[in-house]
């Protein structure tokens, strides 16, 4: 499928809505634009309802008996549990300020990807069954009955929202379509209409600790390969510990960092940084997934997976937790973790053993972000850095949505980057920081079968990278999110060839002057570092 896509085809996007009203337009389940349904075994593994074989392209979705009752009861229940949901169902004025803010709308032109209309898909059902005007005036009041067609539409469009919250920033009432998507996905989950790229990682994270379902020894083996690589390129042998009781700090990062390029380079970066400062820390194979795919199914599942991090911290007797570079992991940690699974009284308020800095902002969760931690180390001159080793890179930074609009970490990564590389360029202002554009594949939409939609959703982000690529020759897109690292390479290859992708910690490690290291000729990717003497150093694409 990927080979058939061309920039021309995707570039031919029309943002004019069709003549026909949206309630009469049905989604088409074309390859590349919808996600595969969940493997029933994965649902069964965590006791989720509605496990069955079904296929979105067939007309019969084999919905469970009384699915309508289930959905309506689910809506009612959630109206009583979430003020956000109830309020956001009622107060939208359909001003359209959010309409052109969604990357999926920009990339597809499909009006149902306007956040307001995405919300209306659910709101129309709410109106018909839960509001006075809707009960009386039905369609005239914007209501519609809950039919199987509606479920199909929900499945199509609520898995065409990355929960990035960009729309929420611009809404005059702060209506957050991501919140509505979260609830809608919970509802779909009640009748087993889940996608495989979420359902199966959830089952895996639950059992093995990581989303790929890799077993403990494999996890460790993988890390060992990376240690070999570090030794080869930097000349330092590192011996990290696993599941070690009594370590001072537990380090948790998304498992994507351990298994796939370019995440593994970021992982190597963490290892080298910790070695450099002599940190007393350990990894856990049990809580080896920072990314919480439960966040994309239901609050309960999110909690279940999140619990393991605290459970492991308690079992190992560490003082606090350090978290790796990940987007939605940090959204969960920042917005939910303490409420879901606190209070973490068995932990201490985080204090950097190297600089003595006390992280008051993490006083209750007891969890510090690696970029905060690194920024503090640099500020206190605890790292020996040679940023010129990154001189061949022209770096830009992608604020991942979750860290940006769900947390507010903007300065730390920029501070770190500016200390580890000499060429840093910002993308256009309407596309960064709180206005950042999504990678287009977040919230579990990074499945292979979804590539066309991912490329469309990623268009606004790629377009901004292209701007700095053309203007400044930017050739490295850095980020602090594992999903970004997983999906950006394909996005860049398609829209902006010549731009590679790296986590911030990888660039830190490249600049790190470690004790006993060799003359660094290679970076962590095994690529030769152009030396200052080379004429075209810094010019290379």
């Amino acid at each position: 499928m990927a080979t058939k896509l061309s920039a021309d085809v995707l570039g031919n996007i029309d943002h004019k809505p069709p003549k026909q009203g949206w309630m009469d337009t049905k989604p088409e389940f074309l390859p590349g634009t919808y996600l595969y349904p969940v493997n029933p075994e994965s649902l069964k593994a965590i006791g989720a309802p509605g496990a069955r074989e079904w296929n979105p392209t067939e007309s019969d979705w084999k919905l469970p008996a009384d699915w309508q009752g289930t959905i309506k009861a689910g809506i009612k229940d959630r109206l009583n549990r979430f003020r956000s949901f109830k309020l956001f169902m009622d107060i939208c004025v359909r001003c359209g300020a959010c309409a052109d803010k969604c990357h999926f709308f920009i990339g597809t032109g499909d009006p149902k990807n306007m956040p307001v209309l995405r919300a209306e898909l659910l709101r129309s059902v709410y109106r018909q069954d839960f509001t006075a005007l809707g009960k009386v005036f039905k369609k005239m009041a914007g209501g519609r009955p809950l039919t199987e067609e509606v479920i199909k539409e929900w499945f199509y469009y609520f898995f065409q929202c990355t929960e990035c919250r960009r729309c929420s920033l611009f809404c005059p009432y702060g209506i957050d379509t991501a919140e509505i998507t979260i609830i809608a996905r919970e509802l779909l989950n009640l009748i087993g209409c889940q996608i495989d790229w979420i359902g199966t990682p959830v089952a895996n994270c639950n059992r093995t600790g990581n989303h790929l379902g890799l077993q403990p020894h494999t996890y460790k083996e993988n890390v060992e390969y990376l240690l070999d690589d570090i030794e080869e390129y930097a000349g330092v042998r590192i011996e990290p510990s696993f599941n070690r009781k009594g370590a001072e700090i537990l380090f948790v990062t998304p498992s994507g960092d351990v298994f796939a390029e370019p995440g593994i380079f970021t992982f190597m970066g963490y290892l080298m940084l910790f070695e450099h400062i002599g940190l007393d820390y350990t990894w856990s194979t049990y809580a080896s997934e920072g990314g919480n795919f439960g966040f994309f199914t239901s609050h309960e599942t999110m909690r279940k997976l999140n619990r393991k991090m605290y459970a492991e911290a308690e079992r190992l007797g560490v003082k606090w937790i350090l978290g790796g570079e990940c987007g939605h992991m940090w959204r969960v940690v920042n917005q939910y973790m303490d409420t879901l699974n606190g209070p973490a009284t068995f932990l201490e308020k985080p204090k950097s053993p190297i600089t003595g800095t006390v992280f008051d902002n993490a006083a209750s969760t007891k969890m510090v972000h690696i970029t905060e931690f690194t920024a503090d180390l640099i500020k206190n001159n605890k790292l020996k850095l040679d940023p010129s080793r990154n001189d061949h890179l022209k770096v830009t930074f992608h604020d991942s949505c979750n860290v940006a609009r769900g947390m507010g970490m903007f300065e730390e990564p920029r501070y770190v980057l500016q200390n580890v590389c000499n060429n840093f360029y910002e993308m256009p202002p309407q596309t960064t920081r709180e206005q950042t554009f999504c990678c287009g594949s977040g919230s579990g939409l990074n499945a292979g079968e979804y590539l066309e939609m991912r490329l469309r959703g990623g268009l606004p982000r790629a377009n901004a990278v292209k701007a700095v690529h053309e203007e400044h020759g930017v050739n490295m897109l850095s980020c602090v999110c594992a999903i970004d690292r997983a999906v950006f390479p394909a996005l860049m290859d398609f829209w902006v060839p010549g731009v590679a992708v790296a986590g911030v910690s990888e660039l830190v490690a490249n600049a790190l002057v470690m004790d006993g290291e060799n003359e660094r000729e290679y970076n962590l990717r095994g690529e030769e570092i152009p030396t200052a003497g080379d004429d075209d150093a810094g010019e290379e694409e």
């Binding site: 009583n80 949901f85 009622d90 107060i91 004025v93 359209g96 914007g142 409420t339």
Partner: protein
């Protein structure tokens, strides 16, 4: 289509009032009962709505963070866009409610095939909306002159400020010497019209618009038109109207003769607007104050917040169950284990889930 249905609905409402009063003589109904019922519906309805929203808890802290969080002392936080204190959140809300801060940020997509995407600032919606709401407020307050005796000085003051920017309309229909058109009324009608035009003009906005979106706009335009007409074009008995409104305000309704049917149209449309409020999107007026993405403090890593309904301990896959699954592999790989490998045929009937 939706726009015409809503217009017709408003016209029908106007006709009902006019005919009801001028034809059927239902002055008590349109002059007393309906206005009282409408005001009651408004207040009871809005209070009910707010209580209803407030009954649903805010289980998690979900502010949209639009600026740097408070972290280390040497990093400058943005206390309003990303408040770490109650005070910051309050300032954020004030800016939101009084100045429409989020809407001010609005950007417009400029999409060129190629594809090339640009964004430019777009302030029209913000401008229309803010003028609309403030002129609405001024008009509303100005009308207190009909419900107070003596008229408070600030209402008189407000009105004189309003008429400082008076628009003198000189046409054959309008006699010289009439009071100047008050700016607020003109702006209110004008902005409602512009909002309507915008709704029809932008294809995407037209596409999402329901009758419920056009109806209040037509209603407000209708109210503004009848108001302006009464002031300048149609002779109405101002003294009689004041008698009527004062009667309503003092709960001793009086219905002087000679008040024109046009006044009842105006009053009826206002009544409909009031009564419609709590059932419709117009509740955004109260709802904006409760929006969890705007009014919360972003301190959920620093301070613990409790979810009122998630109190049961969670069932999760424990480490013990994990080790049972993988103990052999772990030992082989040199990973530490809590329970050493035991001789063969150990029966582990652990279900793997723990409270």
């Amino acid at each position: 289509m939706n726009v015409i249905i809503s217009l017709l609905a408003v016209i029908v409402l106007g006709v009902i009032a006019y005919v009801g009063v001028e034809g059927a003589g239902l002055r008590v109904l349109f002059g007393v009962i309906i206005p009282y019922a409408a005001v009651l519906t408004f207040f009871v309805g809005m209070v009910y709505r707010v209580i209803d929203w407030a009954k649903s808890p805010v289980p998690f802290r979900i502010p949209t963070t639009a600026g740097q969080e408070k972290s280390m002392p040497w990093i400058k936080p943005q206390p309003i866009e990303n408040p770490s204190t109650r005070g910051g959140a309050i300032v954020r809300m004030i800016l939101e409610v009084a100045l429409f801060r989020s809407l001010f940020r609005n950007m417009k997509l400029d999409f060129r095939q190629g594809p090339k995407v640009r964004y430019s600032s777009e302030k029209f919606l913000w401008l229309f909306a803010i003028l609309f709401h403030y002129s609405f407020l001024v008009t509303l307050l100005r009308h207190l002159r009909f419900f107070t005796d003596p008229i408070p000085a600030w209402v008189v003051g407000l009105e004189s400020i309003d008429s400082m920017f008076k628009v003198e309309v000189m046409t054959p229909v309008i006699e010289i010497g009439l009071p100047a058109l008050l700016l607020s009324g003109l702006v209110l009608g004008g902005m409602a019209t512009l909002l309507l035009v915008r709704r029809l003009w932008i294809p995407q906005v037209r596409y999402i618009s329901l009758p419920a979106d056009y109806f209040p706009l037509w209603l407000i335009i209708g109210i503004a038109i009848t108001g302006i007409l009464m002031r300048y074009v149609i002779r109405v008995d101002v003294v009689g109207i004041k008698e009527l409104t004062m009667g309503l305000a003092t709960l001793s309704p009086a219905l002087p003769d000679g008040v024109s049917g046009w006044f009842f149209v105006h009053l009826f449309l206002v009544s409909v607007l009031f009564a419609y409020f709590p059932f419709s999107k117009l509740t955004h007026m109260a709802g904006v104050f409760l929006s969890p993405t705007r009014n919360l403090v972003n301190n959920s890593r620093a301070v613990r917040h409790v979810n009122p309904w998630m109190t049961e301990p969670v069932k999760y896959h424990t480490y013990a169950a994990y080790e049972d699954d993988f103990r052999e592999l772990m030992v082989e790989a040199g990973l530490p284990v809590d329970k050493e490998l035991e001789p063969e045929d150990e029966s582990a009937d652990d279900k793997g889930e723990k409270e």
